[in-house]
Every structure is written in structure tokens, then in C-alpha cells.
Symmetry: C2
Subunit: 282 residues, 2 copies
């Protein structure tokens, strides 16, 4: 088994981002990402700080828009204002959202031209149509990692465990666009281990610590672990039981150091792409 | 094996449509479907006549908008005008389109409130988000037929053969919303028969006459045949080899008389729903 090195992939993407950002700045455009943070949540705050640090290191400005106990209308107003602001190129709305508000509903107010984390239904629809669009960064990171491997996705059997709108479904659509034969599993799937063992490429996006054991993995399969489950001692573990699966899988992403850093790097890549798009489609 | 009777399902839906249309008319709203026909195509002309006849029988007005050798701009202008017309509630743009024009790109100009055949990327995105929306009528017909059977979709293994934006992908998303474990196959799938044999519910939407043979079907499976392939003698056959599959399948839709009539009935149901929607969201 070999580890898939997410940090190395992220480093390469971030070098490309830094070059594109420098060029944009030289031409008078400061690529700018706005991160709307609607709730006080420690995990979110940590994540937002890490995005901001990464962005600024590569020459992308990052505006954190912390809202205090906002209602739906206030979140929507903020997203509309940022969508209309010519100095903002990328917009993310962090979850969790206040009770009763969903990302699916407020995502509509992020302009599709700035929707660097694919929250708008138009972005998702374009993805389903197989057109160019911003995919949710985590789903895009799954594909990016697979494309860095020497793998043939066309005709491969891919199994995605998890059907969320932000990861499972867009990852499945992206894999389908690459001509994989794609199965989506979830909490209602019967005999999940058996279905997962059909996979040449297994994507775990369930959000349950280490639930994917050795018996879920066909020998030699490529396993992408999207999970980031906090442990009691302040660490992170994935949805895959790394120690158990490593002897069976052909390739496996570690947690941390797999999907996570690539997701951040792709948010930045999407932001410079959105800044470039703003020059031709102001 | 028992046939799934699409005509009976369609009849029931059309009776509901007729009742809803009569109520709308009594309240001063004439539910109206506009069908934009951008090319001279005999098959299309036949299909459009059949929709018009069905619509008018149930109290839905049907405006056929035949365009002569239109460019992209003319098609878009027509769809925009119909989207803005308060007397039109549902809009379909018929394929085939002129060379170089795709339904994915012109579908954007059909208001999502009138998009009764789910051609707009926003409709498809909402479908992927699991929200209320108009799904493409053929994909919706697949689900409608399954729901009329005494079947449990949650946890069932569903295999969709075909990944088109108008049938395969939306049918897969609808099945996923019903908690089936869903696999999408296509021309690049390896060992297609084996994958299909995993299915409790098999949806054939490939557009190749009778390509699904007995060896593609698990004994007792429910098979929905979306194919409508013209035969040399002027008839229609499905994507399923009916004679071969009938002894193996538990239930099977015939062609004609399966998905087709239900698709037409759902276009009408969507149109009265859109007319109802226009009263609260003018």
C-alpha cells in the first residue's frame, strides 16, 4: 500500500495559485475570497483561520465576514452584497448555519460566478449537465487526488459512501463525468461492506469515525477518505480505519494530510479562476 | 412476470390533471403549455401532436411554437418571451435542436417556475439538492411507475443504464432521494450485464434497441424500459429485449404502453402544478 500524499498535491496547486495571483496583482486585480461565518463555532473558526492563512500566503486576500446571531435575511443580504461587490471574487458560506437555515437555500444568493465552493443550485445543476462550473471544493479534491494517481477512471467501478449535497452527490457526478461506473451508498444501503468491495475506487464521505474497515475494501483498491472526525485527544481521524485498511488497499489517503489540504488549495484555485473570470465577465 | 401498465397509471394521473384543470378554469386561469419546436423533424412533429391532443383532452391549452431554421438567439428569445408571458404556465423545448445548440444551454432561458420538463440547470441542481422542483418528465415517469408498484425503494439496489442529462442522471438522483442504493452505468461500463444483474430495480435508458437481454436481469427484478427505438416497420421497441427478459423479470414495462404515456401525463400534471404556482408566485 502507498499513501496518497495530499500535502504534495496541495503544494503543487498552491504554487500554481501563487503564480496566477501574482499575475493578477501585477495587472491591478487583487484576488479576494470572502468567507461568511454565520455562527460561533470553534471548529469553524479554526478552519476559517487556516483558509485565511493559506490564502494570504499565496497572494489571495481573504475577508472573514463574521455575523453575530444572524437570521436568514441577514445571511442572504450579506451574500447578495458580496455577490455585487466587484472587489470580491470568491464567496464561501461556512456551515453550521443557524437552526432552520440550510446551505441549499442561502447558496442561491452566491453569484455562480463567485461560487467557489459550489453551494448554488445552478452550480450543482451545471455539474450534473457535465458543464464547466465550480464544484464543491471537497468533491473536487477527491477527483484532483485521483487524477494525480496513475489510474484509469473511465470504466472503473467507483463507490461513494455518503449522499450529501456538498460531497457525496457532487463527487459521484464528477466521477460519472470521468466515465467511471458510479454507485452511491448511504445509511439505508443494505450490506454496505459487500457493495464497497465492488469498488476499484472507494470514496468514504459518511462522517463516522473509522467505520470503513478492511472488509469494505477490495484488495488493491484506491481509497479516498473524506472524513474529518475529531478525536477526544484533539486529533482527527477519517471515516476509514486506516490501520485496518492500509494492508488491503492499493492506495489510501491519510487523515490528516489527504483530502483536507487539497480542498483548501482548490478553494484558492477557484478564487483565482473567479478573479480571472471577472476580467472577461465583469 | 407481470407487465407494469403505464397506460393505467397515465389514466389515473390524467384524471387528476383534468380535475385540477377544471378547477383552475372555473377560477379564471386556463392552464397553458407552450411547446417550442425548433426543427422540422417528423418524429418530433408526431410527438408534439400527441402531447397537444392529450393536453386539450384534459383541459390544458397547448400552444405549439414552430420555429423555422432558428439560430440560438431566436430560440432563446422565444423561451424568454414565453417565460415572461403570464398566460403561459409550462414550457418545453423539443429536441433535436439545430446543430451546435444544446438543450443544456438554452434550457437556462426557461423560467424554473415554468420548467415542466426540467431543462434548466437550476431545476436539475434543486433535484440534486433533494428539493422540490420539476424533474425531467421521463425521469419522473420512471419513479411514478415504481411508486405505483408495491415495492420498497429504500435500500433497494437500483441500476440506471444511461447517463444522459434528461433521463439517466435525473432518474438516478430521484432514486437516490428515495434512498435506493444507485449505480449509474453507461457505454464505458465494463461487464455491463454483471453490473445490471445486481439490480433489484433496473432502469434501461440507453437508446439502443433491445440491448438489455435476459443475462442482464436478476430473476424477479423490476425492469423499467425507457427506450423508444423506431423499428423498420414503423413500430417502436424498447431498450429491453422484451421476449427474452419477460420470463426472468418480476415486473417489466412494455414498449409502447410503459414509460411513454406516463411521461405525457406528467408533463400535463407539471403544467397544472405550474399554473397553480403562478397564482401564489405570479
Amino acid at each position: 500500500m502507498s499513501d496518497i500524499d495530499g500535502r504534495a498535491v496541495a503544494k503543487q496547486i498552491r504554487a500554481e495559485v501563487a503564480a496566477a495571483a501574482a499575475k493578477l496583482r501585477a495587472d491591478g486585480t487583487v484576488p479576494t475570497l470572502a468567507v461568511v461565518v454565520p455562527t460561533d463555532d470553534e471548529g469553524t473558526a479554526w478552519y476559517v483561520r487556516s483558509i485565511k492563512k493559506a490564502a494570504e500566503k499565496e497572494g489571495v486576500d481573504c475577508r472573514v465576514e463574521q455575523l453575530t446571531a444572524p437570521g436568514r435575511a441577514e445571511i442572504i443580504a450579506k451574500l447578495e452584497a458580496l455577490s455585487a461587490d466587484p472587489e470580491v471574487h470568491g464567496i464561501i458560506c461556512q456551515t453550521p448555519l443557524p437552526e432552520g437555515v440550510t446551505l441549499a437555500e442561502v447558496g442561491w444568493y452566491i453569484s455562480p460566478f463567485k461560487d467557489v465552493d459550489g453551494a448554488n443550485q445552478e452550480s450543482l445543476g451545471r455539474l450534473a449537465q457535465g458543464r464547466r462550473t465550480f464544484a464543491p471544493a471537497t468533491a473536487a479534491a477527491v477527483l484532483e487526488l485521483l487524477k494525480h494517481e496513475d489510474l484509469t477512471l473511465a470504466g472503473a467501478r467507483a463507490v461513494v459512501v455518503g449522499r450529501s449535497t456538498v460531497v457525496g452527490k457532487p463527487a459521484a457526478l464528477l466521477l460519472l463525468n470521468e466515465s467511471a461506473t458510479v454507485t452511491v451508498c448511504h445509511s439505508r444501503t443494505k450490506d454496505l461492506a459487500t457493495v464497497c468491495r465492488e469498488a476499484d475506487v472507494l470514496v468514504a464521505a459518511v462522517g463516522r469515525a473509522e467505520m470503513i474497515g478492511a472488509d469494505f475494501v477490495k484488495p488493491g483498491a484506491t481509497v479516498i477518505d473524506v472524513g474529518t472526525n475529531p478525536t477526544d485527544d484533539g486529533g482527527l481521524v477519517g471515516d476509514v480505519d486506516y490501520a485496518a485498511v492500509a494492508p488491503v488497499a492499493g492506495r489510501l489517503t491519510p487523515v490528516p494530510g489527504g483530502v483536507g489540504p487539497v480542498t483548501t488549495a482548490l478553494l484558492l484555485r477557484h478564487t483565482v479562476e473567479a478573479a480571472e473570470l471577472s476580467l472577461t465577465h465583469p
